[in-house]
Amino acid sequence: MQEQWIDALAGGTLAGLASLGFLLVNGRITGVSGLLGGLIDGSAVSDRGERAAFLAGLVVLPGLYAAYSGAQTHATGSVAILVAGGLLVGFGARLARGCTSGHGLNGMSRLSPRSLVASAGYVLAGMAAVALLRHWGAL
């Protein structure tokens, strides 16, 4: 679809501005796996409320927007893939100490070597996984 790149630019700009705000106002990075992971495994000590507030906003407000826009996830109906994907994403993000929002957005934008390497890893493995799915006829 031709408007997709416009939506991508607009949405990316909004997400970037939100991250800019979180950094300059709260002094925090919008690394979702770090914010969430620290809460659920107890490693976050002093700032649980702030993390929870960010994550709550992340869950609630997009829902309101999606109700208006009719956004769909088009996610697979395969429970096996959803479970395997979720386990790998959760485990891998903690091991890498970041995900696409942490390393990909926040880290790459300040040219962090760790983030550049992590992002390359995400994309390479992601492309391999999709190629595999295509090969199996699952995509």
Partner: protein, 148 residues
């Protein structure tokens, strides 16, 4: 005050993700699909968001504290170690398989139905399974000498 701003920024961040199509697995996997039907949309999303954040970091570099008083995050530090490489590959595998990663997972929780819930539950489980590893890494970071 910081909780209100955190909530708002989380909401705007997630809304940006939805607008950009990051919560649509077809768009994500379309970008990761190098075979033929490649969809470049995600690249536009990353380019615009990273562009804004590059400006944010330039501003942040000149400040010791954020607006509400918290110290700015430390400089990007740490070596590229095996955990980073292995972890990123594991993450990428899961991301490519399901087309979902943490931010979009939460952003889609209210409208993604049972599929969203299943992925989210599995992701949380994966994070918990990583806890012993995370603990060891955190204590190693805490004990590491601060670079001059």
């Amino acid at each position: 005050m910081k909780h209100l701003s955190a909530f708002i920024f989380g909401g705007l961040f997630g809304t940006g993700l939805v607008i950009a199509g990051s919560t649509d697995t077809e768009i994500i996997q379309g970008w990761l699909d190098v075979s033929g039907r490649w969809n470049p949309a995600v690249a536009f999303m990353f380019a615009s968001s990273a562009g804004v954040m590059a400006i944010a970091w330039r501003i942040a570099r000149r400040r010791r504290h954020a607006l509400l008083g918290a110290p700015m995050p430390a400089r990007a530090a740490g070596r590229v170690d095996p955990a980073l490489v292995v972890g990123s590959l594991i993450f990428g595998l899961g991301w490519g398989l399901a087309g979902i990663c943490p931010g979009p997972s939460l952003a889609a929780l209210t409208f993604g139905g049972w599929k969203s819930a299943v992925f989210f539950a599995a992701m949380v489980t994966g994070m918990l399974i990583a806890r012993p590893v995370t603990r060891r890494m955190n204590s190693a970071v805490a004990k590491a000498p601060v670079p001059a």
